[in-house]
Amino acid sequence: MDLFPYFAALQASPIGVFVKDRGATFASIEAVHLVAWALLGGAVLATDLRLLGVALRDVPSKTVSDNAHRWFKIALITLLITGFFMLAGVAEKCHGNFYFWVKMAALFTGILFAFAIKQPLLRRDHAELSPTTLKLVALASLSLWTLVGASGRWIGFS
């Protein structure tokens, strides 16, 4: 299936034109995207480092994951909205960009993992879960979001 016509239509849409036509628009949206990235990363790191026993060891892991998840959701929504606007401005370029597709695949997996596996698991009593499971979940989550961030940064370089 060739998605290029959809990408071209998005770039030609009022949203695409709005983002692309003024130099500072794209940059400003990009800057908000970066701030939200720091927040999302902080929420992911706090939870995962706690599950790995690296940070916040004397705070119950459920307290950490519950609180962090709230901010994870807020950051994710901000990232998705700003990300969509950024995409609209440079959709045709993104369509042919290898790292864009790597990021989309990692992002899709990351969201699925966070809401279908990680969060349902962490909502349970952590004492009932095996420490190995918790550590594996943390490692998978860290790897996924690192890939999302790094491949995202690389879209602009390639």
């Binding site: 130099g23 500072a24 940059a27 400003s28 990009e30 800057a31 970066l34 701030v35 990235w37 720091a38 927040l39 999302l40 990363g41 902080g42 929420a43 992911v44 790191l45 706090a46 480092l49 940070a55 916040l56 060891r57 004397d58 705070v59 307290t63 950490v64 609180n67 962090a68 709230r70 901010w71 690192t146 961030g149 790094a150 940064r153 690389w154 370089f157």
Partner: protein, 163 residues
């Protein structure tokens, strides 16, 4: 090579600012309310500082990679001013916290002064990220014919950085 250092700078953002944001959110009473404020601040301080050192080192390397243009960048200059302001704010915040935290450590919402300091910290650091990202754009590069005299003065233009 520049791209790798740049990416490292962006990736360590989540360690440095990610932890800072969580600490500030606790100080605003917007998260981790059941955990004593001092505990969040102390436990996340180390990862935050590791992230800060990594950002500082990669930042210096990025600066040295493009020194003339960066020195004459309006955004870089604003970023440095905001960094100094954030440092002063952090120092005042730490002093205020050491003096008074005993009285409000377990309060879900800390006192007004703490919240103002945390809000200021969040705002300053968001501004630092924005300015940092804007350095990459050439809107006000020295040598641009449509720069006003004020822009050229504020950017400290000596040599043209745009062809």
């Amino acid at each position: 090579m520049y791209n790798w250092v740049e990416s490292a700078h962006v990736m360590t953002l989540i360690l440095c600012l990610g932890m800072l944001f969580l600490i500030d959110l606790r100080m605003l009473g917007w998260g981790f309310n059941s955990v004593p404020a001092s505990k969040i601040a102390e436990r996340l301080d180390k990862p935050m500082m590791i992230g800060f050192v990594a950002m500082f080192i990669t930042g210096i390397v990025l600066y040295l990679g493009i020194p003339v243009r960066t020195t004459q960048s309006l955004w870089f200059r604003i970023k440095i001013i905001l960094l100094v302001a954030a440092a002063v704010n952090a120092w005042l915040f730490r002093r205020h916290m050491q003096a008074s935290v005993g009285a409000w450590d377990t309060a879900p919402v800390p006192p007004r002064r703490t919240r103002i300091g945390a809000g200021l910290s969040l705002t300053l650091w968001a501004g630092i990220v924005v300015c940092g990202r804007f350095i990459a754009y050439d809107w006000y590069d020295c040598g641009k014919s449509d720069n006003t005299a004020f822009i050229n003065w504020a950017a400290g233009c000596v040599a043209a950085t745009t062809p």
